[in-house]
Every structure is written in structure tokens, then in C-alpha cells.
């Protein structure tokens, strides 16, 4: 499964700690410095796919009175996220000297 920027941000948000939907929305916006503002429809579309792929799972919380569900990364999800981050690190390492090269 390939990971888009919104999905990467969702995974990074859950990598820090388990969160419910609204907290994920706030955290992704904060992480992207306001550049990525997920709509609720987009967020839950991504969560549904990630649940199906077993990259994330629901956990029982005490405060589930308002139908809030809390999500957390699974071991497989964390492993895949680490691979994606490593891929991005490699890409930035390769990209940095190239974009820094001055035009002649």
C-alpha cells in the first residue's frame, strides 16, 4: 500500500499516541502547519482503509459515551510507517544536494 501525505500525517499522529477522530484532525493540521486540513469525510475514508489493511485498530476507552472511537497504530502499521519514513529520508538525502546546486 502506498501512502499519501494526508495518510502519512494520520499515521504520524497515531504513532505518537492513540487518538480519536477530531484529535487526529487537529493534530494533522498542526503537524502540517495548516497546509493540510482534512475534511471529516476524507479522514474517515482513510481510517476505514487503514482499519481494513490492519495498519490501525480501535481501542476501548472509558470516555466512549458520545460514540467516540479511539484509534492506535498496530505493529504492522508502525513497521510500515517506519519504512515510509526511511524512504522519505533517503529521498530528501538524495534531493538536498541536487536542489542546492546552483545554475551555471
Amino acid at each position: 500500500m502506498e501512502v499519501s501525505e494526508p495518510v502519512l500525517l494520520i499515521l504520524l499522529s497515531l504513532a505518537e499516541q492513540p487518538r480519536h477522530g477530531y484529535a487526529i484532525l487537529q493534530d494533522t493540521e498542526r503537524m502540517s502547519e495548516g497546509h493540510v486540513r482534512l475534511s471529516t469525510g476524507t479522514l474517515y475514508g482513510a481510517l476505514a482503509r487503514l482499519l481494513d489493511e490492519k495498519w490501525i485498530e480501535r481501542i476501548k476507552e472509558q470516555d466512549s459515551s458520545r460514540g467516540k472511537q479511539t484509534y492506535r497504530l498496530t505493529a504492522a502499521g508502525r513497521r510500515n510507517l517506519q519504512m515510509e519514513v526511511a524512504r522519505l529520508k533517503h529521498l530528501t538525502r538524495v534531493a538536498a544536494p541536487r536542489v542546492a546546486r546552483k545554475e551555471t
Binding site: V3, S4, G21, Y22, G41
Partner: protein, 181 residues
Amino acid sequence: MLALYRVLLHLYPAPYRCEFGDEMMGVLLEVQAENQRKGAFAMLASGVHESGGLLYGAMREHFYSITGSYDNGTFSFKRRFAMRSEFRFPKATVGLMVVILAAVMLAIEKARAISMSIPHANPPVGPIRPEQFAIVQVLVAILIWAIASGAIGWGILFALRRSGIQQLSEMNPAAGQRSGK
């Protein structure tokens, strides 16, 4: 605005709505409460943003529930997010295609053998006159055939979806939830 969100949520497929509907409504309530504090413009912008997201999401889920795939470029997640699809052709299709191909090749070989056994059965064909071209009729026939094939294919997918076979295959009895997509 919340009434509009409720209407838009009803556009989602029923299984998806059952699983995520209440939760999504809770998040939309929190988003609205936050934007109320920011002012009228933030409320309006958020309303447009969320409504668009819900509409797009509903279309995407319906597309998925019919085809079993998001990977068509239109309903896939933005950039580099291709999910694995569980929608596959039956294995029998491959066998059937092999049988059809073998039958076609056999027919060609038989025809060639018959042609060789009767040396002067096929006189040379003279120049083809323009009135002998039947391109329009052929194109119309191909178009009708393509439309009919598409309609039959769509009908089969729709019937499968309506009959719940696909949803049943996605159920995980242990968890009581959808499993693979």
C-alpha cells in the same frame, strides 16, 4: 449546517454509515463548535469544506461498494494511496478464455486445411469497390455490442451488490465488522 451534514451522511452506503456515521457526526459537531468561535467566515468555509468532503466520500464509497476498488484515479486518495482491491475475476475466467482461444485457433487451422484441400475454391478477389465497404454498419454493430456488454456487466455487479454477496464476503463474523476490502 448540521442538517445538511446529516443529509450528506445519508448518501453513504448503509454499512459504512452504520460503522462510521455516528462517529463522523460527532466529529462534525466538534468542528462546527470550533468554527463558531472563530466567526462567520470560518463557519462558511468549514461548511463548504466539510460538505465537499462528505459528497466526495459518499461517491467514493459507492464506487468502491460496486467495483471493489478505489484505484481508478478519480476516487483514489490523493496521490500515492492505492489500496489493495479484493475485487478479482473468478479463476474460472482464465480457464474459459484458454478454451475459447484454443477453439479459435483450431477453427483457423481447420479452415486452412480445407482451403488447401480445394486448390481453386477461392478465386482471386478483384478490386474492392467503395460501395462494398460496410464501415458504418460495422461501427454501429461494435457500438451496440459495447453498450450491451457494459450494461450486462454493470447489471451483474449491481445484482451482486444488491444481493449482499459482496458484503457477506467482507464480513468478519468473529469481530462482527467488515474485514477485507
